[in-house]
C-alpha cells in the first residue's frame, strides 16, 4: 500500500489546476500500470481515474498527451466497468475539439462501449451522441474520425433494438449509405457491414424501400476495386434479395429477383476466392427466381428464347449474359470452399424448381467424383434434400457413379449415400437389383455398418413393392433349389436380400400373400439383427409375431400375447426365438454329418453372433438360457472341427496331438455345460450324455487299442442313459458294437449318421450354477504382504448360486509354474439357501515362494462326480475332474521386506 501511495502521490499533486502544468509520460505510464494491475485497490483506482479526468481539460492544448491519457482511460474501462459512466461524462466536452482529440475520444468511447454489457454499451453512447454530432463527425475530413464514428455506429446498430436511439432509422441508413461512397475501401466495407447488420436486426420493421435502396448501392459496389468491399457488397445484395423476396411490395417480384440473381451470378467469375464464396452463399438466399434464369445459370451457352430467354432479355443489357453458367463455374472451381458453397445453393434452388432439379442432378451426381470429401458430403446433402422433397429423378447414367459411393473410403460418404437410397425412387428393376447388390458389397466390405445397410435395404424394399416382390420370388426359387444342408443364408448377402423381401409386407401388409412363405421362416433366425436395424420403426416383439404369423412354423400365439406390453424381451419371446435357433442349430448337424465343416463353422459363428446380439436386451433369466446355448454352440464348433480332422486324416498327415488337444477341449466344454446348469429335463440330459458318448467314440477311434477302462466307462454311461429314458438309435448302435466287440473306428461314419440332435428342448427351470469371488483389500497397486516361506492369508467373499449340499466345491489357487493348491469349501460354513450361499473367510496359502512378489490365480471349481474316476496327483485335492464355476481372480502379494 505504501508503494501505491507513493505512486499516486505525483498524480494527485498534478491535479493542481495549474495551467502551466505539463502531464509527463512517466506519470501517465504509472497511472496506466496502476489501472491495469489487478491487485490495485479500488480506492487507488478511483483516485487515479479522478486525477486523470481532472487533468483532461488542461491537456486540451497538447493533443499527444491528451490522446495518450484517453487511451489509458479507455484501456482501464473494461477492467473497471463501474468507472465507465464517469469517464464518459468527462470526455463528452472534448468530442468536438481538435481532430486528434475527437478521434481519441471516439476510440475511447468505442472501447468502453464494447466492454460493457449489451444495453449499457449503447446506452452510454446514447447519452453522449446526438444526431447533429454524429452528422458533423461523419462528414469530417479526417479519416480517423470518420472511421471511428462509423465503427461506433456499426456497434450501435447491432444493439439497435435494445437501446434508446439517438438517430432515427432513416438517418442511420443515410449515414451508412453516404459512407458506402467513401474514398477509403475500409470505410466502404464497414458501411456495408453496418447496413447488413441494420437490415438483419430490423428485419421486419423496415419498409421495403430500405432494402431496395441498399440493393441499389450494393449493386453499384459489386464492381469495386477492393476485394473486401466486393465481398461485403455481394453479401448485402444477397441479404436484400432475401428480404425483398419475403416482402409483399406489389412489384414484379420475379423480375426483380431475376435481376438480383443475375447480378450475383456475375460475381461467380470474380478472381477473388472470398468474393466467389460469398457470391454462391448469396445465390442460395435469393428465392423466387424464374426458371429461365435458373436454367441459364446451369448453361454456359446463352439459352434461346425457346427456353424462356425472353425474361432474360427483358433485363438490362449489362446483366444479360451474366447468369450464364454461373453454377458450372462454381462447381468446377479450384477451391473446394467455393465448390461446396455452390453445391449448397444449387441444392436450395433445386428443391424449389422441378425443371432446375432435373438438370442440376447431373452436376450434383458428377460432384460425387470430386476430390474433396467435404464437397462430396455437401453434394450428398443437397441430393438428400432433393430426395426428401421428391424432386430427384435419377437416371441410369448416374447410378454407376452414385452406387460407387457405397464402397467409398469415407464412412460419412457411405452413410450419406445410404440415407439418400432410403428415400430414392428407382425407375427400373435392373437398377433396383444393382443397388441391392452394391449395398451387399457395402455390407461385405464394411460389416460393421450392418445396421445402417439393413435399414437402407428395408426402406428400399418398402419403397419398391413390385421390385422387391420380384427379388423375393427369385430368392424363394434359389432356396428351393438348394439342399437342406447347404445353408447359404448364413452369408451376409442372403440376410440382406431377405431384409429387402420382407420389407414391403412388413411395413404395409401388402404383398403378403405373394411373398413366398419360406422367406418369413428364413428371416426368423435373423430377428435380432433385423430388429436392431429397424429400431424405432418396429418393436422386436411385433416383428417376431409378424414373421411367425406368416411363416410355416407352428407356434402358440398365447405364448407371446401377454408379453406384448412389457418392454425389453420377455422370456417367453426369448424362448420362441431360441427354439428357432435351436432348430437351426439342428440343421448345422446335417452340415457336420455331410462333412461341410467350413459351412457348418460359418453358420455356427453367425448363430453365436445372433445370440450375442439378443443377449444385449435379454432379462436375467433369459441370459442363463442364452449362456447355455452359447456353450452348446461352442461344443458343436469343436465337434465340427474334430469331424473335419477325422475326415482329412486319411488323405494328409495325421496329427494325433492336435486331435487330442481338441478332444480334451471338447471334453472340458462338455463337463462345463453339465456342471454349470441345474434343472435339466430328461431330454436335454440325455442329449448331453449322448454327446459325451460321442466324445468317447472319438477318443476310442483314436486309441488303436481301446482299454478296458474306456469300455467300462462307456457302458456305465449307456446304463445311466438306460435308467433315464429309452435308448436312442445312436446309443443302441454303440451298445451293439461293444457287445459285438467290433471296432468303433471303422463304423464312425455310420455312427455319426444315426446321431440325432432333435432332443434339445428349452428348459424353463434351468438355473446357472456359478460362484462369485471377491478378494478383500487387494489390487496390483496395494498388494497383500507375506513373509516368504510362511503361509499367507487371503480374505475372500464367496457367493455361490444354485449349489446343492452334495456338491463338492474347491478353491483352486495356483502360482505360475507351480502345483496348484486346493482348499475344500465346506458348504455348512455358508449362510443362506440353496439358491444363494454367502461366506467370508480367511483362506491360507501355504506355499509362498521365496521371492519379493508374486501373484496367485484363485478360482472356485466343482468336482464332476459322475465323471470317470481318476486319481489326481495332489493328495489333498479333488479326486475327480473339476470344472470352473467362477471367473479367475488375481491376488497380488509382496514380501514384507520389500516394503
Amino acid at each position: 500500500m505504501e508503494e501505491e501511495g507513493s505512486l499516486v502521490q505525483p498524480l494527485t499533486t498534478t491535479c493542481n489546476p495549474n495551467p502551466l502544468f505539463q502531464f509527463d509520460l512517466t506519470s501517465l505510464s504509472s497511472a496506466q500500470a496502476l489501472l491495469l494491475n489487478p491487485s490495485t485497490s479500488i480506492d487507488t483506482i478511483h483516485s487515479t481515474v479522478d486525477s486523470l479526468l481532472l487533468s483532461l481539460p488542461h491537456l486540451s492544448t497538447n493533443a499527444t498527451s491528451l490522446s495518450l491519457a484517453l487511451s489509458v482511460l479507455a484501456q482501464s474501462a473494461p477492467l473497471h466497468p463501474s468507472l465507465s459512466q464517469s469517464i464518459v461524462s468527462s470526455v463528452r466536452s472534448l468530442i468536438n475539439g481538435q481532430d486528434r482529440t475527437s478521434s481519441a475520444v471516439l476510440s475511447a468511447l468505442l472501447s468502453i462501449a464494447t466492454s460493457c454489457h449489451n444495453e449499457d454499451g449503447s446506452s452510454i453512447l446514447t447519452s453522449i451522441l446526438d444526431e447533429d454530432l454524429v452528422l458533423s463527425l461523419a462528414s469530417s475530413g479526417v479519416y480517423k474520425i470518420r472511421s471511428r464514428i462509423l465503427r461506433l455506429l456499426v456497434f450501435v446498430v447491432g444493439r439497435w433494438k435494445c437501446s434508446g436511439k439517438f438517430l432515427t432509422d432513416e438517418v442511420m441508413v443515410r449515414v451508412f449509405l453516404r459512407f458506402t461512397g467513401d474514398i477509403y475501401p475500409v470505410l466502404r466495407r464497414d458501411a456495408i457491414d453496418g447496413l447488413c447488420e441494420f437490415l438483419t436486426v430490423a428485419r421486419d420493421g423496415v419498409d421495403f424501400c430500405v432494402p431496395e435502396c441498399c440493393l441499389e448501392h450494393a449493386i453499384g459496389l459489386i464492381g469495386d476495386d477492393d476485394e473486401f468491399v466486393r465481398v461485403a457488397a455481394v453479401r448485402m445484395v444477397g441479404l436484400c434479395g432475401e428480404m425483398l423476396g419475403e416482402k409483399e411490395n406489389g412489384v414484379d417480384k420475379i423480375g426483380q429477383m431475376d435481376t438480383i440473381f443475375t447480378q450475383i451470378c456475375s460475381m461467380a467469375r470474380d478472381m477473388s476466392v472470398k468474393v466467389r464464396i460469398e457470391a454462391f452463399n448469396a445465390l442460395g438466399k435469393v428465392k423466387l427466381v424464374s426458371d429461365a434464369v435458373l436454367m441459364q445459370s446451369l448453361s454456359k451457352k446463352i439459352l434461346g428464347s425457346k427456353n424462356g430467354g425472353k425474361s432474360i432479355i427483358k433485363l438490362d443489357k449489362a446483366s444479360k449474359p451474366c447468369a450464364a453458367g454461373a453454377y458450372i463455374h462454381g462447381i468446377e472451381d479450384e477451391f473446394y470452399v467455393v465448390r461446396k458453397s455452390a453445391c449448397r445453393s444449387l441444392g436450395i434452388h433445386a428443391v424449389m424448381s422441378i425443371k432446375f432439379a432435373d438438370d442440376s442432378i447431373n452436376y450434383l451426381m458428377d460432384l460425387m467424383n470430386d476430390d474433396s470429401e467435404s464437397v462430396r458430403l455437401e453434394a450428398l446433402d443437397s441430393l438428400f434434400r432433393m430426395t426428401a422433397q421428391g424432386c430427384l429423378n435419377v437416371q441410369e447414367k448416374h447410378m454407376h457413379m452414385f452406387l460407387g459411393l457405397l464402397t467409398d473410403m469415407s464412412s460419412l460418404v457411405r452413410h450419406g449415400a445410404r440415407k439418400i437410397l432410403q428415400l430414392m425412387k428407382l425407375p427400373k428393376l435392373e437398377i433396383f437389383k444393382s443397388t441391392v447388390n452394391e449395398l451387399i458389397a457395402n455390407l461385405e466390405k464394411y460389416p460393421e455398418e450392418e445396421e445402417g445397410i439393413f435399414f437402407s435395404l428395408f426402406s428400399l424394399g418398402k419403397n419398391h413393392r413390385e421390385f422387391s416382390l420380384n427379388v423375393a420370388k427369385d430368392l424363394a426359387k434359389q432356396i428351393k433349389r438348394t439342399s437342406k444342408g447347404d445353408l447359404t443364408f448364413a452369408k451376409p448377402s442372403m440376410a440382406a436380400t431377405l431384409v429387402v423381401c420382407i420389407a414391403s409386407p412388413l411395413s404395409e401388409n401388402e404383398n403378403v400373400p405373394d411373398t413366398p412363405v419360406v422367406l418369413f421362416s428364413y428371416a426368423v433366425p435373423l430377428l435380432g439383427r433385423i430388429s436392431r436395424a429397424l429400431q424405432g420403426t418396429f418393436d422386436q416383439h411385433f416383428l417376431l409375431t409378424f414373421l411367425l404369423d406368416h411363416s410355416n412354423i407352428k407356434w402358440k400365439s398365447q405364448d407371446l400375447m401377454p408379453e406384448i406390453a412389457s418392454k425389453g424381451i420377455s422370456e417367453d419371446l426369448m424362448q420362441s426365438v431360441i427354439k428357432f435357433i435351436s432348430k437351426s442349430v439342428g440343421d448345422a448337424w446335417s452340415l457336420i454329418k455331410g462333412s461341410n465343416g467350413n459351412d457348418a463353422e460359418k453358420f455356427l459363428r453367425s448363430c453365436m453372433k445372433e445370440l450375442e446380439i439378443i443377449s444385449l436386451n435379454a432379462s436375467q433369466a433369459a441370459i442363463t438360457t442364452l449362456d447355455f446355448f452359447s456353450k452348446y454352440i461352442q461344443i458343436l464348433q469343436l465337434i465340427s472341427k474334430i469331424q473335419c480332422k477325422f475326415d482329412s486324416r486319411n488323405s494328409t498327415t495325421f496329427h494325433i496331438k492336435s486331435h487330442h488337444i481338441l478332444l480334451e477341449k471338447l471334453d472340458s466344454a462338455l463337463r462345463k455345460i453339465r456342471y454349470s446348469f441345474t434343472g435339466w429335463t430328461k431330454e436335454v440330459e440325455c442329449h448331453i450324455l449322448e454327446l459325451s458318448l460321442l466324445v468317447d467314440v472319438f477318443t476310442f477311434s483314436l486309441a488303436r487299442i481301446p482299454s478296458n477302462e474306456h469300455l467300462k466307462n462307456l457302458l456305465s454311461k449307456i446304463s445311466h442313459l438306460e435308467a433315464i429314458s429309452c435308448l436312442s438309435d445312436f446309443t443302441k448302435e454303440i451298445k451293439r458294437l461293444i457287445e459285438e466287440r467290433s471296432s468303433v473306428m471303422v463304423n464312425l461314419h455310420s455312427l455319426l449318421k444315426v446321431f440325432e440332435c432333435s432332443g434339445l428342448e428349452f428348459v424353463r427351470e434351468m438355473k446357472p450354477i456359478k460362484a462369485e469371488l471377491k478378494v478383500v483389500g487387494d489390487d496390483s497397486e496395494n498388494p497383500l504382504t507375506f513373509v516368504p516361506g510362511l503361509p499367507a492369508g487371503i480374505r475372500l467373499w464367496i457367493t455361490l448360486h444354485n449349489t446343492s449340499s452334495t456338491d463338492r466345491l474347491w478353491l483352486h489357487m495356483s502360482v505360475r509354474g507351480r502345483r496348484p493348491q486346493y482348499v475344500f469349501l465346506d458348504l455348512s460354513n455358508f449362510e443362506g439357501s440353496e439358491e444363494v450361499r454367502k461366506c467370508s473367510s480367511l483362506i491360507p496359502f501355504y506355499k509362498t515362494p521365496k521371492i519379493a512378489s508374486f501373484e496367485i490365480r484363485v478360482c472356485i471349481v466343482i468336482e464332476c462326480l459322475s465323471e470317470h474316476y481318476e486319481v489326481l496327483k495332489e493328495r489333498d485335492g479333488p479326486k475327480y475332474d473339476v470344472t470352473e464355476l467362477s471367473v479367475e481372480k488375481l491376488v497380488y502379494f509382496s514380501s514384507v521386506k520389500s516394503r
Binding site: 470474380d270 452436376y363 460432384l367 474433396s372
Partner: protein, 512 residues
C-alpha cells in the same frame, strides 16, 4: 501516345506466337515460337522486320514449342543480346522440349537444323527466371510482371507497364482449373491493351465433370472385366492430370488394379512436378502438406516384358496420338482383344493412328504393307483441353475491361465472331491482325499537374453541396511542369487586366 503492336506470328493462325509491342518507347517481344506445320523459312517469325538491338526484352509465357521454338534462333543466329524472361518451370522444361524437337528434326526426319545443341544451352544461360506476381524492373521505365495462367506447368500471363501505359499479353491460358493446375489468376488492372489468345473463340465447353465421369466409367468397367487400358499421352501435362484422376478414384474405390507409367515418362516428368508444387492447383498444394500427390500410390513403372502378362491394368505410354514408339508397340499387342480399351486424350494430328481411331471405328489398320492390326478393342475419346473457351475469354476481357483488345492464336473466322461479340456485348474495341501487320492502339496519358494555393483555396470555399466544381486555368509552358491556377493568378502572370464585355440583346415577344 500509342502502343504499337507488330504481330510477327499467330496472327489469324495457331502457331509461332510472337508479338512485338512498343509501349512508351520500349519494344518488348512476347513469345518467340515456331510453327510446327512448316519446316522451311515459314516455321519462324520474320525477324527481318525488326532489328534485334531495338528490343528491350523478350518474355516467354510457357514452354510449348509454338511459344519458345524460335528463341535459340533469335538469340544465337539473329544475335539478340538483351534480357530474356520466363518463369522457373519454363526455364527448367524448355531446354528439354527444344532439344527433343531438334533431335527429331535432325535424327528422324534428316532435316537441316536451325540451331545446335550448344545454341540451346547458350541461349538458356541468358534467361532470367521470374516468379508469379514478381515485378521486374527491366530498365528505368519498363516494368513487367507475371500472372498465373493455368494451361501448362509454369505458364504465365505477362503484364507490362511503361509510365501510365499498361498492357497484358496472356499467352495461352485456362480459366477452368483441372486436376493438377489452377485457373488463371489476375488482378484488376486498368489496361490500355489486352492481347489474348483465341484458340476456342466460338466454342463453349460444358462441364468437365461429365467427361471425367464417362472416362472413369469406361476405364473401371474395362478393368473390372479383366481388360487392359492403354492411354497414349505425351510426357507432360495430360498424363499427370489423368493419373491424378485415376489415382484418386482407385484410392476411393479401393481398386487394386495396377496403373503403369512407361519408363521414360515417370521419372523425369513426375520429378519436375514434384519439385514445382508451387505452380500447381490449390488442391495439390493443400494435400502436399501430407504427401506429395505426384507420388502416385497405385502407379508402378512398366517394363516391356509386362505387355503380355495376364490380368487387368492401366498403362500410360508415350508418345501421344500413337504416332510410333512404345505406345504403338503396346497398341499392336492390345488392339486385337475386345476386352481392352484405348483411351485417347486430346487432339490427334491427321495421319497418326490416334486420328484414325478417333475419326470412326476402324476394324483393321494397315501399319505398313506387311503389318495389319485387327482393331477389336473399345475406343474412348477424351476431349480435355488446357485452353480456355470463348466464355472464359469473354469473362477475362470483362473482368479486366481494357480499352482495346487484340486477338491472336486462333482461326480467322472464329476470331471475327469473337471480335463481334466483344465489341457488341462489352463495348470494347477489338482487332485481330494478320501476321506481320502492325496495329496502333491509342492510349490515354495522364499528366502530373501542380495546383496553386489560391486555386486550392478557391476549391474549398466554392463547395456547393455534394457537387464539387472548381474553375481554374491550366497553364502548360515548355520546359515547365503543367500548373493549374486561379483566374486572378493567371491574369497576374500574363500581365493582363480583366476586361468584362457585356451586351444586352432584345428579343421580340412576337418572334416565333
Amino acid at each position: 501516345m500509342a502502343i504499337q503492336c507488330l504481330i510477327l506470328g499467330a496472327g489469324q493462325e495457331v502457331g509461332k506466337s510472337c508479338v512485338v509491342a512498343m509501349i512508351g518507347g520500349k519494344k518488348i517481344m512476347f513469345d518467340c515460337g515456331m510453327h510446327m506445320g512448316f519446316s522451311d523459312h515459314r516455321a519462324f517469325p520474320d525477324f527481318s522486320l525488326l532489328s534485334s538491338n531495338d528490343i528491350s526484352c523478350v518474355v516467354i509465357t510457357h514452354f510449348h514449342l509454338d511459344h519458345i521454338g524460335a528463341l535459340p534462333y533469335f538469340t544465337e543466329v539473329c544475335g539478340y543480346n538483351g534480357p530474356i524472361y520466363m518463369t522457373y518451370p519454363t526455364k527448367a522444361l524448355a531446354p528439354l522440349m527444344l532439344e527433343d524437337y531438334r533431335k527429331i528434326l535432325v535424327d528422324r526426319r534428316g532435316l537441316e537444323e536451325q540451331y545446335t545443341y550448344e545454341n540451346i544451352i547458350h541461349c538458356m544461360n541468358k534467361v532470367i527466371p521470374i516468379d508469379i506476381k514478381q515485378t521486374i524492373q527491366v530498365d528505368k521505365d519498363l516494368q513487367i510482371r507475371a500472372y498465373y495462367a493455368g494451361h501448362v506447368l509454369g505458364a504465365a500471363m505477362i503484364y507490362a507497364q511503361v509510365g501510365e501505359e499498361k498492357m497484358l499479353y496472356t499467352g495461352d491460358y485456362n480459366m477452368t482449373p483441372d486436376r493438377h493446375l489452377g485457373a488463371a489468376q489476375i488482378d484488376r488492372l486498368s489496361l490500355d491493351l489486352l492481347i489474348t489468345e483465341s484458340t476456342y473463340a466460338t466454342t463453349v465447353r460444358d462441364s468437365k465433370y461429365s467427361r471425367e465421369r464417362e472416362f472413369l466409367k469406361a476405364v473401371h468397367t474395362c478393368v473390372a472385366a479383366g481388360g487392359k487400358v492403354l492411354i497414349p499421352t505425351f510426357a507432360l501435362g495430360r498424363a499427370q492430370e489423368l493419373c491424378i484422376l485415376l489415382d484418386d478414384y482407385w484410392e476411393r474405390m479401393n481398386i487394386n488394379v495396377p496403373i503403369y507409367f512407361s519408363a521414360g515418362l515417370t521419372i523425369q516428368a513426375n520429378m519436375y512436378y514434384k519439385m514445382l508444387i508451387g505452380w500447381t492447383s490449390q488442391k495439390i498444394k493443400d494435400s502436399y502438406t501430407v504427401r506429395n500427390p505426384f507420388d502416385f500410390k497405385h502407379v508402378c513403372p512398366f517394363e516391356r516384358s509386362m505387355i503380355n502378362l495376364p490380368g487387368p491394368c492401366v498403362l500410360f505410354a508415350t508418345p501421344g496420338m500413337i504416332s510410333g514408339g512404345f505406345s504403338l508397340e503396346v497398341f499392336k499387342q492390345w488392339a486385337p482383344s475386345d476386352k481392352n480399351l484405348i483411351a485417347i486424350p486430346g487432339y490427334c494430328v491427321a495421319g497418326t493412328i490416334g486420328h484414325k481411331l478417333m475419326s470412326g471405328k476402324p476394324t483393321r489398320i494397315d501399319l505398313d504393307k506387311d503389318t495389319l492390326i485387327d482393331v477389336r478393342c473399345q475406343i474412348h475419346q477424351l476431349t480435355f483441353s488446357p485452353h480456355t473457351d470463348s466464355k472464359g475469354i469473354m469473362d477475362l476481357v470483362e473482368f479486366l475491361s481494357p480499352k482495346h483488345v487484340i486477338l491472336v492464336h486462333g482461326e480467322k473466322p472464329k476470331m471475327a465472331a469473337l471480335k463481334q461479340r466483344i465489341e457488341s456485348e462489352l463495348g470494347i474495341q477489338c482487332e485481330y491482325p494478320a501476321n506481320n501487320e502492325t496495329v496502333l492502339v491509342p492510349t490515354t496519358q495522364s499528366l502530373k499537374i501542380s495546383a496553386s494555393k489560391t486555386f486550392v483555396r478557391n476549391c474549398t470555399t466554392e463547395l456547393d453541396g455534394d457537387e464539387r466544381i472548381a474553375e481554374g486555368i491550366l497553364v502548360m509552358e515548355k520546359g515547365h511542369n503543367a500548373k493549374i491556377v486561379s483566374e486572378e493568378e493567371f491574369l497576374e502572370t500574363i500581365g493582363a487586366e480583366r476586361n468584362v464585355v457585356s451586351f444586352t440583346g432584345w428579343m421580340s415577344p412576337l418572334a416565333q
